[in-house]
């Protein structure tokens, strides 16, 4: 088969089984867009901004486990995509991002729409490739998908000069069946001796904790994790990124840990003697002040990326390997060896945890005059039977969504945890909806975040993507306002958002449905009405309490044992 470079690129996407490409055309990718036009298999979603394309591909990937694919033009197309690429990089999401480049002979001449896409994206990709000739395209694409999806996943950029995709140069096409890269060999196993030591240590614990993260979702090892946790009977806490890997409604789950984690999760961490950390990276939002982190614990850390181990926290038993393989080995060893921790110790530990739980650290002050954002999230959970895909943006609403929507299934909670990218929620929701058209997809957002990628309401209209937007509108950059209240004596510097649009009219202008909800008594009814409209995107503008804060909170420089609780903690239900 003889094809042009542009056709080869699209054919290679077909051969990879790609369903959707999220993109935006421009001069350097016109040959590629012509190849897209002349086939049916790969569907192109035209976004309104390249950042939206990367977030859509990212949401699609998080909800399915498949790589997300993006196609943008050179120069501003590439630079606009960078925020989304960095978002995927920090959360280890596999993307293949194709950037057009100016014609090869003009590279380095400051040509129109020229930017060094390889240089610009280098610090925020897993790897990037510059295509050097048309006959390299197929093998580079194969490598790009391989690198993006294996080991610790991540975004890969492929930069292709326009002349290599030209229609008049035809070359033989054959998509490689295998990849051989001598410099890239992702690990699988996990040192057998280390795994054995870990299981022995777990059996000696008196006050154990299991701390899980996004790696469990990435490696599809949530079932193995659940089996292990239940076999041991130990408490499980999760990072923001790992929510849903272990069912939130299970009695062994003690909630999220870290800066806005529960009292029982954080004190469990602070007082544990053995910590099993799986698929996590000891992020600063999780550990708090490192000096105070788990002062009495022996730590077992399992991760596929050797650089995650001992980066922020020293560990006692490091295990580098695919979580699925390592957790399966642990289960096998536990099946062979009946030695377990002393049940009395574990029962005593659970009694302590229940005591911490009884503090009700997530209780908030109910109101019948002003809408509490936590209440809205609880109602979203009820109305969707806890079964929706929930995306979010970044800030207070993100934390409330994480705290009050109880995720029982993996890949349902989709947010920008590492980079903290405002603007992520709406486009990500559209990507999720394309992947799961029959499922409810909710974007829990705020009036500030939603405006960062608001233009994608137009994309939703073009492709008929009926997601539900829950806008927790408190007129402030809420998390900034909260920090200003706590740390800057209430000097609210530039955190008040004056001049908001009428979100109802705005939604209607895109032929969506808009709702404004101002009374607590109307919340449930509005949600039911909105979710009943299966074919429509409904933008629900909830006017919420502008003074509400996220609790508990570990402030900068503090440890897990120094949480700032709701001022009325103990009196609330």
């Amino acid at each position: 088969m003889e094809l042009s470079g542009g056709e080869i690129l699209i054919q290679s996407l077909q051969d990879e089984g790609v369903e959707y490409v999220f993109g935006y055309p421009g001069g350097a990718v016109l040959h590629i867009y012509d190849a897209i036009f002349r086939q049916q298999q790969v569907k192109h979603i035209l976004v309104r901004h390249e950042q939206g394309a990367t977030h859509m591909a990212d949401g699609y990937s998080r909800a399915t486990g498949k790589p997300g694919v993006v196609l943008v033009t050179s120069g501003p197309g590439a630079t606009n995509a960078i925020t989304g690429i960095a978002t995927a990089h920090l959360d280890s999401i596999p993307l293949v991002v194709i950037t057009g480049q100016v014609t090869s002979k003009y590279i380095g001449t400051d040509a129109f729409q020229e930017v060094d896409a390889i240089g610009c994206t280098r610090p925020c990709v897993k790897h990037n490739f510059m295509v050097k000739s048309a006959d390299e395209i197929a093998s580079v694409m194969k490598k790009a998908f391989y690198v993006a999806t294996t080991g610790r996943p991540g975004p890969v950029v492929v930069d292709i000069p326009k002349d290599f995709t030209a229609p008049h140069i035809k070359i033989p096409y054959e998509y490689p069946t295998e990849v051989s890269m001598r410099s890239y060999a992702p690990v699988s196993g996990g040192h057998v001796g280390q795994v054995r030591k870990a299981v022995e240590l777990l059996a000696q614990a008196k006050q154990p904790m299991i701390y899980t993260g996004g790696g469990v979702l990435m490696s599809e090892s949530h079932k193995e994790l659940c089996k292990l946790a239940q076999e041991l009977g130990y408490p499980v806490t999760s990072t923001l990124m790992g929510l849903g890997a272990y069912p939130a409604s299970d009695k062994q789950f003690v909630g999220m840990l870290g800066m806005h984690g529960t009292y029982e999760a954080n004190l469990g961490m602070h007082n544990c003697d053995v910590l099993l950390a799986v698929g996590v990276r000891f992020d600063d939002r999780v550990t708090g002040e490192i000096e105070h982190f788990c002062p009495n614990a022996k730590i077992i850390h399992v991760d596929i990326d050797p650089t995650s181990i001992a980066k922020n926290i020293g560990v006692d038993i490091p295990i580098v390997g695919d979580l699925k393989v390592v957790l399966t080995r642990m289960l096998e060893l536990l099946a062979q060896d009946s030695r377990r921790a002393n049940p009395e110790d574990i029962a005593r530990w659970w009694t302590q945890i229940e005591e911490w739980k009884s503090v009700k650290s997530l209780a908030y002050e109910a109101s019948d005059s002003v809408i509490k954002p936590q209440y809205v999230v609880e109602k979203v959970w009820e109305v969707t039977n806890g079964d929706a895909y929930v995306t979010s943006d970044v800030g207070q609403h993100q934390m409330w969504a994480a705290q009050y929507y109880k995720f029982d299934e993996p890949r349902r909670w989709i947010n920008s945890g590492g980079l903290g990218t405002m603007g992520f929620g709406l486009p990500a929701a559209l990507g999720v909806k394309l992947a799961h058209p029959e499922s409810e997809v909710v974007c829990i957002t705020g009036e500030a975040s939603i405006q960062m990628c608001l233009q994608e309401l137009s994309t939703a209209m073009q492709y008929g993507l009926p997601v539900k937007v829950v806008n927790l509108n408190n007129r402030y950059l809420g998390m900034v306002r909260q920090w200003q209240e706590f740390q800057y004596e209430g000097r609210y510097s530039n955190s008040y958002v004056d001049a908001l649009p009428d979100f109802v009219k705005l939604a209607e202008s895109y032929n969506h449905v808009g709702m404004k909800i101002e009374k607590p008594g109307d919340v449930e009814g509005a949600l039911k009405e909105a979710f009943a409209m299966k074919e429509k995107l409904v933008f629900m503008d909830f006017i919420t309490d502008d003074t509400e804060n996220v609790y508990p909170m570990i402030e900068a420089g503090k440890g897990h044992h120094e949480m700032r609780m709701h001022p009325k903690v103990g009196e609330l239900n």
């Binding site: 280098r122 610090p123 510059m130 410099s183 890239y184 650089t307 001992a310 980066k311």
Partner: protein, 166 residues
């Protein structure tokens, strides 16, 4: 933890961009880089680089792990962990006129230097060895005599059977 100097040797894909990935990693993560040398090996598809860096044990562990993670890095070894040779080459242009000419020549001889260029008023001396030896030579010549110094940076190799191969 105490900070110590390490000589890390790597084999890289000999491709454009590979070196900037290595250099970029150091600046991005705030690691020290004292010197970096790189050139293709006898296998033209591979380059070999020697990096002199410093840090405490945990930092050095991160540096080697992060370097290994780069897709273009094929193999890596911290030479400092065992016996190795780490040399650099220096060319030093010195003022050499009148009585100084004999003195410089004598000094160069002591350090096993090679005079590679002679003019009426200057010499260029080429010197190879470990960095301490080159430092000592510079000190012996003295600032007043030195016109220019160029050093290659350290290149290193492990002694004996230990080594860095694909």
């Amino acid at each position: 933890m105490s900070v110590s100097k390490h000589v890390v040797s790597l084999l890289l894909e000999n491709e454009s961009g590979a070196l900037s990935r290595v250099a970029g990693l150091f600046s991005m993560r705030g690691y020290n880089i004292e010197s970096l040398t790189v050139a293709p090996t006898h296998d033209p598809t591979l380059s070999r680089a020697t990096i002199v860096t410093s840090g405490d044990d945990r930092t050095i562990e991160q540096i080697t792990k992060q370097l290994n993670k780069l897709v273009d890095v094929v193999r890596l070894v911290d030479l400092t962990e065992a016996a190795h040779v780490a040399h650099e080459m220096m060319m030093i242009k010195v003022r050499a006129s009148g009585v100084q000419r004999d003195e410089i020549q004598r000094l160069s001889g002591i350090y096993k230097g090679k005079i590679v260029d002679v003019t009426e008023s200057t010499f260029i001396i080429e010197l190879t060895g470990n960095s301490d030896k080159l430092d000592a030579f510079i000190k012996s010549v003295g600032d007043e005599q030195i016109l220019e110094v160029v050093r290659s940076g350290v290149t290193g190799i492990a002694r004996g059977e230990r080594g860095l191969k694909v």
